[in-house]
Amino acid sequence: SQPMTGRQAAELQSKVVPSKQILHSDNMEMEPETMETKSVTDYFSKLHMGSLVYSCTSKRKNK
Protein backbone atom coordinates (compact mmCIF):
# COMPACT_ATOMS: atom_id res chain seq x y z
CA SER A 1 0.00 0.00 0.00
CA GLN A 2 0.97 3.64 -0.46
CA PRO A 3 3.02 5.17 2.32
CA MET A 4 0.99 7.70 4.29
CA THR A 5 1.49 11.42 4.31
CA GLY A 6 2.19 13.16 7.57
CA ARG A 7 -1.28 14.64 7.55
CA GLN A 8 -2.95 11.26 7.10
CA ALA A 9 -0.85 9.91 9.89
CA ALA A 10 -1.83 12.77 12.14
CA GLU A 11 -5.47 12.17 11.32
CA LEU A 12 -5.13 8.53 12.22
CA GLN A 13 -3.31 9.42 15.37
CA SER A 14 -6.11 11.72 16.40
CA LYS A 15 -8.41 8.74 15.96
CA VAL A 16 -6.42 6.31 18.03
CA VAL A 17 -5.57 8.59 20.91
CA PRO A 18 -8.35 8.44 23.47
CA SER A 19 -9.78 11.79 24.38
CA LYS A 20 -12.68 13.22 26.30
CA GLN A 21 -14.28 13.91 22.96
CA ILE A 22 -14.43 10.21 22.21
CA LEU A 23 -15.27 9.16 25.72
CA HIS A 24 -18.18 11.50 26.13
CA SER A 25 -19.24 11.94 22.56
CA ASP A 26 -22.60 10.32 22.40
CA ASN A 27 -24.58 10.55 25.57
CA MET A 28 -26.04 14.02 25.54
CA GLU A 29 -29.64 13.72 26.64
CA MET A 30 -32.21 15.91 24.91
CA GLU A 31 -35.66 16.89 26.15
CA PRO A 32 -38.66 15.50 24.27
CA GLU A 33 -40.34 17.30 21.36
CA THR A 34 -43.73 18.84 21.89
CA MET A 35 -46.39 18.11 19.29
CA GLU A 36 -49.52 20.22 18.80
CA THR A 37 -52.72 18.34 19.53
CA LYS A 38 -56.21 18.43 18.08
CA SER A 39 -59.21 16.54 19.35
CA VAL A 40 -62.46 15.63 17.63
CA THR A 41 -64.29 16.90 20.70
CA ASP A 42 -62.67 20.34 20.28
CA TYR A 43 -63.99 20.60 16.78
CA PHE A 44 -67.18 18.69 17.16
CA SER A 45 -68.73 21.50 19.12
CA LYS A 46 -72.15 21.22 20.73
CA LEU A 47 -73.40 23.53 18.03
CA HIS A 48 -72.24 21.14 15.37
CA MET A 49 -73.71 18.18 17.21
CA GLY A 50 -76.98 20.08 17.30
CA SER A 51 -76.96 20.75 13.60
CA LEU A 52 -76.07 17.13 12.88
CA VAL A 53 -78.94 15.89 14.98
CA TYR A 54 -81.19 18.40 13.21
CA SER A 55 -80.05 17.31 9.74
CA CYS A 56 -80.53 13.67 10.67
CA THR A 57 -84.03 14.12 12.00
CA SER A 58 -85.03 16.27 9.04
CA LYS A 59 -83.63 13.68 6.63
CA ARG A 60 -85.61 11.02 8.42
CA LYS A 61 -88.80 13.09 8.05
CA ASN A 62 -88.12 13.53 4.35
CA LYS A 63 -87.91 9.79 3.75
Binding site: M4, K15, V17, P18, S19, H24, S25, M28, E33, T34
Partner: protein, 412 residues
Protein backbone atom coordinates in the same frame (compact mmCIF):
# COMPACT_ATOMS: atom_id res chain seq x y z
CA UNK B 1 -74.29 3.92 4.41
CA UNK B 2 -76.74 6.34 5.92
CA UNK B 3 -75.08 9.72 6.42
CA UNK B 4 -76.07 10.13 10.09
CA UNK B 5 -74.99 6.65 11.04
CA UNK B 6 -71.78 7.24 9.11
CA UNK B 7 -71.06 10.50 10.94
CA UNK B 8 -71.83 8.95 14.29
CA UNK B 9 -69.70 5.87 13.78
CA UNK B 10 -66.80 7.92 12.43
CA UNK B 11 -66.98 10.05 15.55
CA UNK B 12 -67.22 7.01 17.83
CA UNK B 13 -64.19 5.38 16.21
CA UNK B 14 -62.18 8.59 16.45
CA UNK B 15 -63.12 9.06 20.11
CA UNK B 16 -61.98 5.51 20.86
CA UNK B 17 -58.73 6.23 19.01
CA UNK B 18 -58.23 9.33 21.15
CA UNK B 19 -58.92 7.38 24.32
CA UNK B 20 -56.41 4.67 23.39
CA UNK B 21 -53.68 7.16 22.42
CA UNK B 22 -54.18 9.07 25.67
CA UNK B 23 -53.86 5.74 27.54
CA UNK B 24 -50.52 5.24 25.78
CA UNK B 25 -51.59 2.54 23.33
CA UNK B 26 -50.80 4.36 20.08
CA UNK B 27 -50.77 1.19 17.99
CA UNK B 28 -54.37 0.38 18.85
CA UNK B 29 -55.32 4.05 18.59
CA UNK B 30 -53.99 4.14 15.02
CA UNK B 31 -56.28 1.24 14.05
CA UNK B 32 -59.36 3.11 15.26
CA UNK B 33 -58.32 6.37 13.59
CA UNK B 34 -57.65 4.53 10.32
CA UNK B 35 -61.08 2.93 10.61
CA UNK B 36 -62.62 6.35 11.23
CA UNK B 37 -60.97 7.67 8.06
CA UNK B 38 -62.31 4.65 6.15
CA UNK B 39 -65.86 5.39 7.30
CA UNK B 40 -65.35 9.04 6.45
CA UNK B 41 -67.08 12.22 7.56
CA UNK B 42 -68.41 15.30 5.88
CA UNK B 43 -67.13 17.45 8.74
CA UNK B 44 -63.69 18.63 7.64
CA UNK B 45 -62.67 19.87 11.08
CA UNK B 46 -63.29 16.42 12.51
CA UNK B 47 -61.27 14.90 9.69
CA UNK B 48 -58.48 17.39 10.33
CA UNK B 49 -58.38 16.37 14.01
CA UNK B 50 -58.22 12.70 13.01
CA UNK B 51 -55.35 13.33 10.57
CA UNK B 52 -53.47 15.34 13.18
CA UNK B 53 -53.77 12.60 15.78
CA UNK B 54 -52.81 9.92 13.27
CA UNK B 55 -49.71 11.96 12.47
CA UNK B 56 -48.79 12.29 16.14
CA UNK B 57 -49.44 8.61 16.84
CA UNK B 58 -47.13 7.60 13.99
CA UNK B 59 -44.57 10.13 15.23
CA UNK B 60 -44.52 8.51 18.69
CA UNK B 61 -44.29 5.09 17.02
CA UNK B 62 -41.22 6.41 15.12
CA UNK B 63 -42.92 5.85 11.76
CA UNK B 64 -41.96 9.25 10.43
CA UNK B 65 -42.88 8.77 6.76
CA UNK B 66 -46.48 8.04 7.81
CA UNK B 67 -46.42 10.90 10.32
CA UNK B 68 -45.32 13.22 7.52
CA UNK B 69 -48.13 12.03 5.26
CA UNK B 70 -50.88 12.65 7.80
CA UNK B 71 -49.58 15.98 9.08
CA UNK B 72 -49.40 17.05 5.44
CA UNK B 73 -53.06 16.01 4.89
CA UNK B 74 -53.96 17.95 8.03
CA UNK B 75 -52.17 21.07 6.79
CA UNK B 76 -53.88 20.91 3.40
CA UNK B 77 -57.25 20.49 5.05
CA UNK B 78 -56.71 23.31 7.56
CA UNK B 79 -55.83 25.65 4.71
CA UNK B 80 -58.82 24.53 2.66
CA UNK B 81 -61.28 25.37 5.42
CA UNK B 82 -59.41 28.53 6.41
CA UNK B 83 -58.74 27.31 9.94
CA UNK B 84 -55.75 29.46 10.90
CA UNK B 85 -55.12 27.94 14.32
CA UNK B 86 -55.40 24.47 12.79
CA UNK B 87 -52.91 25.49 10.11
CA UNK B 88 -50.45 26.72 12.75
CA UNK B 89 -50.66 23.44 14.65
CA UNK B 90 -50.30 21.31 11.50
CA UNK B 91 -47.29 23.39 10.40
CA UNK B 92 -45.60 22.88 13.76
CA UNK B 93 -46.16 19.13 13.70
CA UNK B 94 -44.99 18.90 10.10
CA UNK B 95 -41.88 20.89 11.05
CA UNK B 96 -41.03 18.57 13.95
CA UNK B 97 -41.45 15.54 11.69
CA UNK B 98 -39.26 17.04 8.95
CA UNK B 99 -36.61 17.76 11.59
CA UNK B 100 -36.46 14.12 12.64
CA UNK B 101 -36.15 13.15 8.97
CA UNK B 102 -33.17 15.52 8.65
CA UNK B 103 -34.91 17.95 6.31
CA UNK B 104 -33.93 21.04 8.30
CA UNK B 105 -34.61 23.77 5.74
CA UNK B 106 -38.24 22.75 5.16
CA UNK B 107 -38.66 22.15 8.88
CA UNK B 108 -37.60 25.74 9.55
CA UNK B 109 -40.13 27.07 7.01
CA UNK B 110 -42.95 25.08 8.65
CA UNK B 111 -42.09 26.04 12.22
CA UNK B 112 -41.63 29.66 11.19
CA UNK B 113 -45.20 29.50 9.83
CA UNK B 114 -46.32 28.11 13.19
CA UNK B 115 -44.59 31.08 14.84
CA UNK B 116 -45.99 33.71 12.43
CA UNK B 117 -49.60 32.55 12.77
CA UNK B 118 -49.32 32.29 16.55
CA UNK B 119 -48.10 35.89 16.69
CA UNK B 120 -50.84 36.98 14.28
CA UNK B 121 -53.45 35.34 16.52
CA UNK B 122 -51.74 36.76 19.60
CA UNK B 123 -51.45 33.21 20.90
CA UNK B 124 -48.62 33.34 23.46
CA UNK B 125 -48.70 29.62 24.21
CA UNK B 126 -48.44 28.74 20.52
CA UNK B 127 -45.69 31.30 20.02
CA UNK B 128 -43.63 29.79 22.84
CA UNK B 129 -44.08 26.28 21.51
CA UNK B 130 -43.05 27.34 18.00
CA UNK B 131 -39.91 28.98 19.41
CA UNK B 132 -39.02 25.74 21.22
CA UNK B 133 -39.52 23.78 17.99
CA UNK B 134 -37.28 26.20 16.08
CA UNK B 135 -34.61 25.89 18.78
CA UNK B 136 -34.75 22.11 18.42
CA UNK B 137 -34.39 22.28 14.63
CA UNK B 138 -31.34 24.57 14.76
CA UNK B 139 -29.81 22.41 17.50
CA UNK B 140 -30.23 19.27 15.36
CA UNK B 141 -28.97 21.08 12.29
CA UNK B 142 -25.81 22.21 14.09
CA UNK B 143 -25.18 18.80 15.57
CA UNK B 144 -25.78 17.14 12.22
CA UNK B 145 -23.36 19.35 10.28
CA UNK B 146 -20.75 19.01 13.03
CA UNK B 147 -20.78 15.22 12.97
CA UNK B 148 -20.95 14.91 9.18
CA UNK B 149 -17.70 16.80 8.73
CA UNK B 150 -14.32 16.45 10.32
CA UNK B 151 -12.79 19.77 11.14
CA UNK B 152 -9.59 20.82 12.78
CA UNK B 153 -9.46 20.65 16.54
CA UNK B 154 -9.86 24.02 18.15
CA UNK B 155 -12.81 25.72 16.56
CA UNK B 156 -16.30 24.86 15.45
CA UNK B 157 -16.94 25.62 11.79
CA UNK B 158 -18.87 28.86 11.36
CA UNK B 159 -22.06 27.25 10.05
CA UNK B 160 -22.20 24.89 13.02
CA UNK B 161 -21.59 27.71 15.47
CA UNK B 162 -24.24 29.87 13.79
CA UNK B 163 -26.87 27.14 13.91
CA UNK B 164 -26.16 26.37 17.57
CA UNK B 165 -26.16 30.06 18.48
CA UNK B 166 -29.55 30.44 16.75
CA UNK B 167 -30.84 27.48 18.74
CA UNK B 168 -29.68 29.12 21.98
CA UNK B 169 -31.39 32.39 20.98
CA UNK B 170 -34.69 30.60 20.27
CA UNK B 171 -34.55 28.73 23.59
CA UNK B 172 -33.90 32.03 25.39
CA UNK B 173 -36.85 33.66 23.63
CA UNK B 174 -39.02 30.69 24.53
CA UNK B 175 -37.88 30.93 28.15
CA UNK B 176 -38.87 34.59 28.35
CA UNK B 177 -42.44 33.75 27.32
CA UNK B 178 -42.94 30.54 29.32
CA UNK B 179 -41.54 32.28 32.42
CA UNK B 180 -44.15 35.03 31.95
CA UNK B 181 -46.80 32.35 31.52
CA UNK B 182 -45.53 30.52 34.60
CA UNK B 183 -45.29 27.26 32.64
CA UNK B 184 -42.68 25.37 34.69
CA UNK B 185 -42.76 22.19 32.59
CA UNK B 186 -41.97 24.17 29.44
CA UNK B 187 -39.19 26.00 31.30
CA UNK B 188 -37.69 22.66 32.25
CA UNK B 189 -37.60 21.48 28.65
CA UNK B 190 -36.08 24.73 27.40
CA UNK B 191 -33.40 24.74 30.13
CA UNK B 192 -32.43 21.16 29.31
CA UNK B 193 -31.97 21.77 25.59
CA UNK B 194 -30.39 25.19 26.15
CA UNK B 195 -27.87 23.50 28.45
CA UNK B 196 -27.06 20.94 25.77
CA UNK B 197 -26.66 23.70 23.18
CA UNK B 198 -24.21 25.59 25.42
CA UNK B 199 -22.35 22.30 25.94
CA UNK B 200 -21.89 21.86 22.19
CA UNK B 201 -20.82 25.50 21.86
CA UNK B 202 -18.20 24.85 24.55
CA UNK B 203 -19.84 27.20 27.09
CA UNK B 204 -19.61 24.65 29.86
CA UNK B 205 -20.32 27.07 32.74
CA UNK B 206 -23.53 28.23 31.05
CA UNK B 207 -24.41 24.59 30.39
CA UNK B 208 -24.08 23.84 34.11
CA UNK B 209 -26.31 26.78 35.04
CA UNK B 210 -29.03 25.68 32.62
CA UNK B 211 -28.91 22.03 33.69
CA UNK B 212 -29.07 23.06 37.36
CA UNK B 213 -32.33 24.89 36.58
CA UNK B 214 -33.55 21.82 34.71
CA UNK B 215 -32.73 19.65 37.73
CA UNK B 216 -34.62 21.98 40.08
CA UNK B 217 -37.77 21.82 37.93
CA UNK B 218 -37.51 18.04 37.48
CA UNK B 219 -37.47 17.67 41.28
CA UNK B 220 -40.46 20.02 41.58
CA UNK B 221 -42.47 17.74 39.34
CA UNK B 222 -41.07 14.52 40.76
CA UNK B 223 -40.04 13.70 37.19
CA UNK B 224 -37.30 11.14 37.77
CA UNK B 225 -36.47 10.61 34.10
CA UNK B 226 -35.85 14.33 33.68
CA UNK B 227 -33.89 14.37 36.93
CA UNK B 228 -31.69 11.56 35.62
CA UNK B 229 -31.18 13.38 32.33
CA UNK B 230 -30.08 16.51 34.18
CA UNK B 231 -27.56 14.57 36.31
CA UNK B 232 -26.10 12.94 33.22
CA UNK B 233 -25.81 16.25 31.35
CA UNK B 234 -24.27 17.93 34.42
CA UNK B 235 -21.71 15.13 34.62
CA UNK B 236 -20.79 15.67 30.96
CA UNK B 237 -20.33 19.42 31.45
CA UNK B 238 -18.14 18.96 34.55
CA UNK B 239 -15.91 16.55 32.63
CA UNK B 240 -15.13 19.32 30.16
CA UNK B 241 -14.60 21.80 32.98
CA UNK B 242 -11.93 19.40 34.23
CA UNK B 243 -13.83 18.87 37.51
CA UNK B 244 -13.78 15.08 37.42
CA UNK B 245 -14.73 14.54 41.08
CA UNK B 246 -17.90 16.57 40.66
CA UNK B 247 -18.64 14.75 37.40
CA UNK B 248 -18.31 11.39 39.15
CA UNK B 249 -20.82 12.49 41.80
CA UNK B 250 -23.38 13.39 39.14
CA UNK B 251 -22.80 10.19 37.17
CA UNK B 252 -23.31 8.20 40.39
CA UNK B 253 -26.72 9.85 40.83
CA UNK B 254 -27.47 9.04 37.19
CA UNK B 255 -26.61 5.42 37.88
CA UNK B 256 -28.75 5.34 41.03
CA UNK B 257 -31.79 6.65 39.19
CA UNK B 258 -31.18 4.42 36.16
CA UNK B 259 -31.32 1.43 38.50
CA UNK B 260 -34.47 2.72 40.20
CA UNK B 261 -36.08 3.28 36.81
CA UNK B 262 -34.93 -0.19 35.71
CA UNK B 263 -33.44 1.16 32.48
CA UNK B 264 -30.56 -1.17 31.61
CA UNK B 265 -29.30 0.78 28.60
CA UNK B 266 -29.09 3.98 30.61
CA UNK B 267 -27.46 2.08 33.48
CA UNK B 268 -24.82 0.81 31.05
CA UNK B 269 -24.17 4.33 29.79
CA UNK B 270 -23.78 5.61 33.37
CA UNK B 271 -21.28 2.83 34.16
CA UNK B 272 -19.33 3.67 31.01
CA UNK B 273 -19.24 7.37 31.91
CA UNK B 274 -18.10 6.51 35.45
CA UNK B 275 -15.41 4.20 34.12
CA UNK B 276 -14.09 7.00 31.91
CA UNK B 277 -14.29 9.53 34.73
CA UNK B 278 -12.26 7.31 37.08
CA UNK B 279 -9.75 6.83 34.25
CA UNK B 280 -9.41 10.61 34.10
CA UNK B 281 -8.99 10.59 37.90
CA UNK B 282 -6.35 7.87 37.40
CA UNK B 283 -8.21 5.55 39.79
CA UNK B 284 -7.90 2.51 37.53
CA UNK B 285 -9.35 -0.06 39.95
CA UNK B 286 -12.63 1.85 40.11
CA UNK B 287 -12.50 2.44 36.36
CA UNK B 288 -12.17 -1.30 35.75
CA UNK B 289 -15.01 -2.03 38.15
CA UNK B 290 -17.40 0.24 36.23
CA UNK B 291 -16.21 -0.83 32.77
CA UNK B 292 -16.80 -4.46 33.74
CA UNK B 293 -20.34 -3.55 34.86
CA UNK B 294 -20.82 -1.81 31.51
CA UNK B 295 -19.46 -4.84 29.67
CA UNK B 296 -21.92 -7.21 31.37
CA UNK B 297 -24.93 -5.08 30.42
CA UNK B 298 -23.66 -4.49 26.87
CA UNK B 299 -23.44 -8.26 26.40
CA UNK B 300 -26.87 -8.72 27.95
CA UNK B 301 -28.35 -6.17 25.52
CA UNK B 302 -26.40 -7.59 22.55
CA UNK B 303 -24.82 -4.18 22.06
CA UNK B 304 -21.70 -5.08 20.09
CA UNK B 305 -20.45 -1.52 19.74
CA UNK B 306 -20.78 -0.96 23.47
CA UNK B 307 -19.02 -4.24 24.13
CA UNK B 308 -16.14 -3.18 21.88
CA UNK B 309 -15.83 0.11 23.73
CA UNK B 310 -15.85 -1.65 27.07
CA UNK B 311 -13.06 -4.00 25.96
CA UNK B 312 -11.00 -1.10 24.62
CA UNK B 313 -11.46 0.85 27.88
CA UNK B 314 -10.63 -2.21 29.98
CA UNK B 315 -7.50 -2.85 27.92
CA UNK B 316 -6.38 0.72 28.57
CA UNK B 317 -7.07 0.56 32.30
CA UNK B 318 -5.31 -2.81 32.75
CA UNK B 319 -2.34 -1.47 30.79
CA UNK B 320 -2.18 1.55 33.10
CA UNK B 321 -2.10 -0.84 36.07
CA UNK B 322 0.62 -2.89 34.38
CA UNK B 323 -1.62 -5.97 34.22
CA UNK B 324 -0.52 -6.89 30.71
CA UNK B 325 -2.14 -10.31 30.53
CA UNK B 326 -5.60 -8.90 31.17
CA UNK B 327 -4.82 -5.97 28.88
CA UNK B 328 -3.88 -8.42 26.14
CA UNK B 329 -7.08 -10.40 26.63
CA UNK B 330 -9.27 -7.31 26.23
CA UNK B 331 -7.24 -5.89 23.34
CA UNK B 332 -7.78 -9.18 21.51
CA UNK B 333 -11.51 -9.09 22.25
CA UNK B 334 -11.58 -5.49 21.04
CA UNK B 335 -9.92 -6.52 17.78
CA UNK B 336 -12.41 -9.37 17.27
CA UNK B 337 -15.42 -7.17 17.89
CA UNK B 338 -14.09 -4.31 15.73
CA UNK B 339 -13.76 -6.79 12.86
CA UNK B 340 -17.23 -8.16 13.55
CA UNK B 341 -18.91 -4.76 13.41
CA UNK B 342 -16.68 -3.48 10.59
CA UNK B 343 -15.14 -0.70 12.68
CA UNK B 344 -11.92 0.00 10.75
CA UNK B 345 -10.51 2.60 13.08
CA UNK B 346 -11.32 0.43 16.09
CA UNK B 347 -9.50 -2.40 14.38
CA UNK B 348 -6.44 -0.22 13.84
CA UNK B 349 -6.49 0.97 17.44
CA UNK B 350 -6.72 -2.60 18.67
CA UNK B 351 -3.79 -3.65 16.47
CA UNK B 352 -1.64 -0.79 17.74
CA UNK B 353 -2.49 -1.68 21.33
CA UNK B 354 -1.72 -5.34 20.71
CA UNK B 355 1.63 -4.55 19.11
CA UNK B 356 2.57 -2.34 22.08
CA UNK B 357 1.56 -5.07 24.51
CA UNK B 358 3.44 -7.71 22.55
CA UNK B 359 6.56 -5.60 22.84
CA UNK B 360 6.08 -5.08 26.54
CA UNK B 361 5.66 -8.79 26.98
CA UNK B 362 8.86 -9.26 25.01
CA UNK B 363 7.32 -11.22 22.22
CA UNK B 364 8.23 -10.73 18.62
CA UNK B 365 5.26 -9.50 16.71
CA UNK B 366 5.29 -10.25 13.05
CA UNK B 367 2.45 -9.98 10.67
CA UNK B 368 2.15 -9.33 6.97
CA UNK B 369 -1.28 -7.80 6.92
CA UNK B 370 -1.46 -4.45 5.24
CA UNK B 371 -3.22 -3.00 8.31
CA UNK B 372 -0.19 -3.75 10.44
CA UNK B 373 2.35 -2.39 7.99
CA UNK B 374 0.22 0.73 7.68
CA UNK B 375 0.21 1.17 11.40
CA UNK B 376 3.99 0.89 11.47
CA UNK B 377 4.14 3.78 9.04
CA UNK B 378 1.93 5.75 11.38
CA UNK B 379 4.13 4.90 14.31
CA UNK B 380 7.32 5.76 12.50
CA UNK B 381 6.19 9.06 11.14
CA UNK B 382 4.87 10.14 14.51
CA UNK B 383 7.26 8.80 17.07
CA UNK B 384 10.57 8.34 15.31
CA UNK B 385 11.48 4.78 14.53
CA UNK B 386 10.31 2.95 17.63
CA UNK B 387 6.68 2.61 18.56
CA UNK B 388 6.08 4.13 21.97
CA UNK B 389 4.72 1.91 24.65
CA UNK B 390 3.49 4.96 26.51
CA UNK B 391 1.14 6.15 23.78
CA UNK B 392 -1.83 4.67 25.54
CA UNK B 393 -1.00 6.60 28.66
CA UNK B 394 -2.15 9.70 26.87
CA UNK B 395 -5.41 8.79 28.56
CA UNK B 396 -3.94 9.88 31.85
CA UNK B 397 -3.35 13.43 30.78
CA UNK B 398 -6.04 14.03 28.29
CA UNK B 399 -6.07 17.63 27.35
CA UNK B 400 -9.10 19.77 27.04
CA UNK B 401 -9.61 20.38 23.37
CA UNK B 402 -11.94 23.14 22.33
CA UNK B 403 -14.05 21.01 20.04
CA UNK B 404 -17.57 19.96 20.03
CA UNK B 405 -17.89 16.87 22.22
CA UNK B 406 -19.89 15.23 19.47
CA UNK B 407 -17.21 15.70 16.87
CA UNK B 408 -15.50 12.36 17.02
CA UNK B 409 -17.70 9.68 15.59
CA UNK B 410 -15.30 6.77 15.46
CA UNK B 411 -16.96 5.01 18.33
CA UNK B 412 -20.49 5.43 17.13
Amino acid sequence: LHLCRMEASCLELALEGERLCKAGDCRAGVSFFEAAVQVGTEDLKTLSAIYSQLGNAYFYLHEYAKALEYHHHDLTLARTIGDLLGEAKASGNLGNTLKVLGNFEEAIVCCQRHLDISRELNDKVGEARALYNLGNIYHSKGKNVASARTHDPGELPDDVKNALQKAADYYEENLTIVTELGDRAAQGRAFGNLGNTHYLLGNFRSAVLAHEQRLLIAKEFGDRSAERRAYSNLGNAYIFLGEFETASEYYKRTLQLARQLKDRAVEAQACYSLGNTYTLLQDYEKAIDYHLKHLVIAQELHDKIGEGRACWSLGNAYTALGNHDQAMHFAERHLEISREVGDRSGELTARLNLSDLQMVLGLSYSTNTSMMSESHVVENSLNGTRPRVGRRHSMENMELMKLTPEKVQNWN
